[in-house]
Symmetry: C2
Subunit: 177 residues, 2 copies
């Protein structure tokens, strides 16, 4: 970070960038910010903020961006809430349940155009219409998920998948879970 | 939580409550939400959201609400960033440095009307004007701090101290750090 630059400035995306440029800047900013520590709570907290501000600069009505991680007290069964931006969220999600739980059990990104049509969708917020969830995988093991909710239907597409998977790869490499 | 209520609804404070009523609701909502788990990451993530939405319902221009916790790799020396709402933040704060570090070393709430006049203030965001920091103490030991920043001078007063200290007492009781 340059002399005199505040950490908060990483959240100030320019409004005139393309979607691809904004999401690449998100990936690059995460890499810069996470350089100081391998503490996952600190890095995932800043990552939630970077994701939130990137999508808001693109005028995508994201209402929740954050993480669920493997619950250390039930590591074979469930996710527990991690750092996020947005409204209060459900604490526990069982593997295989809802969009997040499906991302864990399938180890695959879930791109959901309409959450109301997703079997077993868990509504932490009844206003959410679409969602994307990317599993954080290292050496074949899932450590958690990046979860982003949107107030609009079809809030995310293959471009989001491409860049958010890049972000999550960086997250899996830069943290000790 | 009532049948059919979403977790997100805890973030929806009514705009016509007094400051005291809103802050008491914040304390009560934290107690309800944290009832499910003693996992500190999950509970502090939801607490950050409750604080953010409480102050925004009161039209207080809070630009950051969240936590720093004792860095597990340097527990005698420094705080590390925990869950928060707002823009990207500094990861590490040394004990005794800035408003947060002073709250740890003094074990006392810091109510700062103008951060620019606080000796050794650490500016994660140059736009912050006032700040309140409450240490999380259990059995005489500090586990972290609740930190709230405001874009206005004198954003907080003795009413905030009273209710936020109640909140932090609940936080210290309801989590395994």
């Amino acid at each position: 970070m340059g002399e005199g630059q505040h950490h908060a400035e990483y959240s100030n995306y320019q409004g005139d960038l393309s979607k691809e440029e904004t999401l690449q800047l998100l990936v690059d900013s995460y890499e810069a910010v996470s350089n100081d520590t391998r503490n996952w709570v600190a890095n995932l907290s800043n990552a939630s903020s970077l994701v939130w501000h990137a999508y808001h600069s693109l005028k995508v009505p994201v209402n929740w961006s954050g993480f669920y991680v493997i619950n250390p007290t039930k590591p074979e069964e469930e996710l527990i809430l991690g750092p996020f931006q947005g409204k209060v969220a459900c604490q526990i999600i069982k593997f295989g349940k809802g969009v997040c739980g499906t991302a864990v059990s399938s180890q695959k990104t879930q791109l959901v155009a309409n959450v109301n049509e997703f079997p077993g969708h868990i509504a932490c917020d009844g206003e959410t219409q679409s969602e994307i969830v990317i599993p954080i995988i290292k050496d074949g093991k899932v450590y958690g998920v990046l979860d982003i909710d949107c107030l609009a239907l079809e809030g995310f597409d293959e471009v989001d998948v491409e860049y958010l998977e890049k972000l999550v790869t960086k997250i899996s490499e830069s943290n000790d879970f």
